[in-house]
Structures are given as structure tokens and as C-alpha cells.
Amino acid sequence: MHGDGARRRRPWLRWLPAAAAPVVIAAASLAGSLPAGASNPLPAKTPAQVLELAAGHQVRAFSGTVEQSADLGLPELPAAGKPAGPASPGSVASVIELLSGKHSARVFMDGQDNARIQVMDQLAERDVVRHGSDVWFYSSKDNTAEHATLPAHVQDPAQSKERQGGGGVHTPADVAQQFLSRIDPTTAVSVGPDVSVAGRAAYNLLIEPRTDGTLVGRVAIAVDGENGMPLSVQVTARGAGKPAFVSQFTSLSLEAPDASVFAFTPPPGSTVKELPVPDRPHGPSGAHTPGAMHGDAKGNVSVTGTGWETVVGTLHGSASAAGSLLQDPLLSQAAVAVPGGRLLSTALLNVLITDDGRIFAGMVPAERLQSAAAAAR
């Protein structure tokens, strides 16, 4: 038999497929991971033009998948030990959990009033659905739904965004806004080589604060070459090599999503809770800090410093807010005692909980928080 002859004469030939298969796979995965070549280069733009493009983007209807990964230096637990989904989508534990590790979320938007963010956990999901003035939070882990009605004064889009955030997961556009608003005359803004995000060509806007008063070293924002929507944000801490926080679209479709996506009725058997209506909108820029998330900070916010050195704090001590922060086992371990209170230090954000229960947060070194706390007393 022919095959037998070959087997006896050149047995090594029979191992060729086994040697070739990994090579082919390695080559294919390498080819897939290479950035798509600039087949159709974007017209050159100055940093100011790219900023203008980003500021003027009018994309209000899209659906896509956002991946967020954060390596802020918070203690990391093995995946098995992590709770698969904290009870309430807006709780402190939930925010902390979302701000560590990797998360994937699907985002649907249609106009100002329709939005849905699905944070996809393993075998669980956390949803935030906004339809008109109704906002629903749903957690599949414990089958709970929370409902809030947006009051009229939150109807305007800039403020309602605060409530749309998936309790810690935001679209790259929302995150980018946080940094674009901090650009001041001392900030170095440049445009790097074009990048490709979610299959779309984008300008790579590089922002570098030129002050020692912030922890942020560099922010890279990919601005869609066609419509100006920020497609990815990478934040690198001062002196660090790798980004500590990345939020980017992995897929994006600019078609309006099906209207049924925004319809939400609490499923039968679920626990439904009505959330109190906030009297006043939250503080503008620091609303993502854990303290403000809790709603205890309303009417109580002090903002010191400007731009990158902004420190947001609470004026009056709120023992309940501080207590609930420190009750979280992860937080109470991570927060170290410093003069004047306890400090939760991460690569990009510092949070100071003073002994009298006030909370100060900012992307600034810890000393600035302490001096802000001392000054506000």
C-alpha cells in the first residue's frame, strides 16, 4: 500500500500537519490582531479641529458593545471569589466592582430619551433602561428591578446622562466628555497617528496635563473620523507605561436600534422598588465618585480647584455615607489611615473619607485632598 510505504520511509512527514496547525493558527491570530492598515487615511486635522469635531458630534442613535477594563490598583480577587453581581446596580459595591477588572456592556441609544445599557456578566446581567422619563435598573442575579421617574429638570440631556450611566459603565463618549471638559490652556493637546476602533478609522487625540497637581499622565481619545463620536478612551496614570483605564467600542452600528429594546416591564416574580426622586441634579463633574452616587451629597457639594486639579467634596459630614463606604469589606481593607481620615488610593483617583464623615475625591495626589479637606472645614 502506498501510504504504508510513505509511512515507513518518511515518518516525519506524518507529523507535518501537527507542526503546521499551530503555525497557521498563530499566523491567523497575529494577522487578526494587527491594527487595520490605513487603507483610506483620514484627512489631516489640527488638534483644534479634532476637538471641534468631537465637540460637535451629533450621533444620537447607535448600538454597540463597549469593553471597559480598569487596573486602578485596587486589590484583585480571583474571579471565583468575586460576587457575580452585587445586589443593587447603583450601590457602592457595584460601582467598585465595575471599576475593577474587565467588563463588557451592550449600549443602545436612540435620541435623548431612549437608552439601554446591558452590563453582561457571566450568567447574569445588569440593565439600565431609559424610556422617556422612566428609568429602570434590573439585576438578573437576584431578579430585582428598581424604577425611577426623572423629574422635569433632569430632562435636559446633559444632566440626564448622569442617571443613564450603567452604575459605573459608561460609553466612551461619556467618559471622553469628562476629560475634554478639563482641557485648559496649560494642557498639551496633540493628534497621534490614526487608529482603528471597532472597524472605524479615528483620529487619536492625545491630551497631556502639564501640571503636577493631577494623577493623570495622558489621555488618548479616539475620535471617529466621520462623525466625531469618541470611540475609545485610554487613561494612563502619571509615570505609568500602560493605561490604567480603557473604555472602547468593540463593535458599533450607527443604525437606530429596534424600539422594543427600550421597552421594559419588570418580569413576573421580580422584586420591584421605587427609587426616590432626586430633588436636585447631582454635581456636574464629580458625580461618578462613590459618595455622590449615593445621593447623600445633594446640595452639599463643594468644588475646589479647576481643570485637572478639581476636588469634589461634601461640605457637611454624613456619617451614613462614610459608614456605608467603609462597611464594604473590600473598601475598608483598601482604605489606609492618613492624617485627617482614611484614604482610598488608586492609580487615577483618590478618595479621602475624613474622620468627621466628609468625602473628598479627585484625580489629584492625596495631599491636595487633605489640604482641600482642611480648607473646607
Binding site: 500500500m1 501510504g3 509511512r7 515518518p11 506524518r14 507529523w15 507535518l16 500537519p17 501537527a18 503546521a20 496547525a21 499551530p22 497557521v24 493558527i25 458593545t65 484583585e76 480571583p78 474571579a79 471565583a80 457575580a84 445586589a87 451592550r106 446591558q118 453582561m120 457571566q122 450568567l123 447574569a124 446581567e125 440593565d127 429602570w136 434590573y138 438578573s140 442575579k141 437576584d142 431578579n143 430585582t144 428591578a145 429596534d258 429594546v261 421594559f264 419588570p266 418580569p267 413576573p268 416574580g269 421580580s270 422584586t271
Partner: protein
């Protein structure tokens, strides 16, 4: 060792007799392989053991007090409201160990079992070709990968319908689907798991060509699956995770979202195809060059 039980020998010898017939097509060889595989008491014992998982789960939930929400494996707390969740819970529970165990037994036995019984050389007497035998053996293992999750899912749906009310099913996204569509999703999850186990079967097939001791291969296959899952839990090895064949095993939750997500299904299929090609090629290299002594 089950494979040396005398009851198995006539069946295996039957394969050998058929193999000796000249010019059989690959299809009839596959037919006889499937007949032998699913005619075995051991295969039925494995499937019965898998079917016992949903049955025991359902009975335990039935006789015990209500499970508080958010406790235990996902979906467990929903069973009392809707019997179809027995199928989801059982499939989830069986993924880490029981499915790989059953697949490891079947895939590990493919070549080593015949060699151990001394029937392998008879299978190769005829110009059947070692490649064709290897393909047929792998196809048999794949057939078991399809049947095993189906057994768990269908047994779960059946026992759930018997012990609990059946109604519209709440998906992970909070949407609700009718029982018919939920049944379709059970079948989709079974398909997802069948694809998930294809890579492990290829590993078992390769290990099976290495030795004539089937128990060793079975154990090694199961150990490989456990090691892969342990590595997948270590954050320090994050770069390795997308390359582990067990990485997407629990991703079948994506079949329970609204709108459905196909990303993990696609990535999983691609990953498993990679494992099948690598370990299939290794099994080929080993099997066509080795001296068959038994």
C-alpha cells in the same frame, strides 16, 4: 475497568468483523461505530448519570424550602416559579465537571479502548486506512458530545414540567419569552455545549493514540479539563485565558439575553476549531506512524 467487561467484547469484535469486509464506505463504518458506542451499557450509564443531575436538582428543590434569590448556582432560585429553569440549572451545574468527565470517558476510549481489547489491528487489517478510522472514531465522540448536553437539557425540562409549573421564562435581560421559545433556547444551549466539548474530545482522541490503557487516557482527559478551568480562574494568567479551551464554557448565558448575543458562540466555535485542528493533526501524526501491536 468497564471496557474489559466481557459483555463489551462481542460488540467490539462485531466492529472488527464488519471492518474486515472489503470496500465498506466510511458511512457504514461510522454507522457501526455509532451502533457500538450507543449500544454499550457504559454509554447508557454515563447518559443516565447525566440525566440524574436535573432529576436530583428538581427533587431537592421540591422537597426543600424556597431558595432565597441570589443564592446557589444561577437560576436555582427560579425553579419553584418555573420548571424550565431546572434545565438551565442542570446544564450549568454539569458543565465544569460532569460533562467533561463523560466526554473524557468516551473520547479517551476511542483508540486506546480498541487497542486494549486487541481489536485495533483487526480494524486495520482491511485497507480501511488509519485516517478513516481516526475520523470515524472522532465522529463517534462528537456524536456523544451532542447527545450528552441534550440529555441534560431534555431531562431537566421533563422533570421540571412534571414537578413545577411551566410558564413564560424570564431571560437575563429581564425580558420574558414563551415556553416554546425557551425550549428553543435550551436546544441552543445544548448546541453551544456540544461545540464547547469538541476541543476536549480532540484532546482525548490524541491522548487515546498514545497508550493502550484507556483508563489512563480517560483520567488524563478529565485532568486536562480541570487544569484548564483552574488556569482560567487565575488573574495572573490573563493573557492565556482566551486560549484555554474551557474559557467560553460558561458563556452560554449569552443565549439567554435579549437581544441574543452570538459573539461568544462564534469565538467559542473558532477556538474549538483550533483545538480540533491542532490535536486532530497530533493524533494523525501519532496514529499513522505508530506500530499497532494489539
Amino acid at each position: 475497568m468497564p471496557s474489559s467487561v466481557p459483555a463489551d467484547i462481542p460488540e467490539a469484535a462485531g466492529t472488527a468483523r464488519q471492518a474486515a469486509a472489503p470496500r465498506r464506505s466510511g458511512v457504514s463504518l461510522l454507522g457501526s461505530e455509532l451502533k457500538v458506542l450507543f449500544g454499550r451499557r457504559r454509554t447508557w450509564a454515563l447518559l443516565l448519570a447525566l440525566a440524574a443531575i436535573p432529576v436530583l436538582t428538581a427533587i431537592a428543590v421540591r422537597v426543600s424550602s424556597a431558595v432565597p434569590p441570589g443564592r446557589g448556582p444561577a437560576f436555582l432560585d427560579r425553579i419553584t416559579q418555573n420548571g424550565l429553569f431546572v434545565a438551565f440549572t442542570a446544564m450549568l451545574v454539569s458543565v465544569p465537571l460532569f460533562m467533561p468527565l463523560a466526554v473524557g470517558v468516551v473520547a479517551g476510549d476511542t483508540i486506546a479502548g480498541e487497542a486494549n481489547l486487541g481489536t485495533l489491528r483487526y480494524l486495520l487489517v482491511a485497507p480501511a486506512g488509519r485516517v478513516r478510522l481516526l475520523l470515524v472514531k472522532y465522529a463517534g465522540a462528537l456524536a456523544f458530545c451532542i447527545v450528552a448536553p441534550l440529555t441534560v437539557g431534555l431531562a431537566g425540562a421533563a422533570i421540571g414540567a412534571a414537578l413545577f409549573p411551566i410558564g413564560p421564562v424570564t431571560l437575563l435581560s429581564g425580558g420574558v419569552v414563551q415556553p416554546q421559545e425557551a425550549a428553543l433556547r435550551i436546544l441552543l444551549i445544548a448546541a453551544y455545549l456540544a461545540v464547547s466539548l469538541a476541543g476536549l474530545s480532540a484532546i482525548g482522541l490524541f491522548l487515546s493514540t498514545m497508550t493502550v490503557v484507556p483508563v489512563g487516557t480517560m483520567a488524563a482527559t478529565v485532568v486536562v479539563s480541570v487544569v484548564s478551568q483552574v488556569l482560567d480562574q487565575l488573574p495572573q494568567l490573563e493573557w492565556l485565558h482566551p486560549w484555554l479551551f474551557s474559557h467560553y464554557w460558561l458563556g452560554f448565558g449569552d443565549m439567554l439575553r435579549q437581544p441574543m448575543v452570538w459573539d461568544s458562540f462564534g469565538s467559542n466555535a473558532l477556538l474549538q476549531a483550533g483545538y480540533v485542528s491542532v490535536f486532530g493533526a497530533l493524533a494523525y501524526g501519532r496514529f499513522v506512524t505508530k506500530d499497532i501491536l494489539s
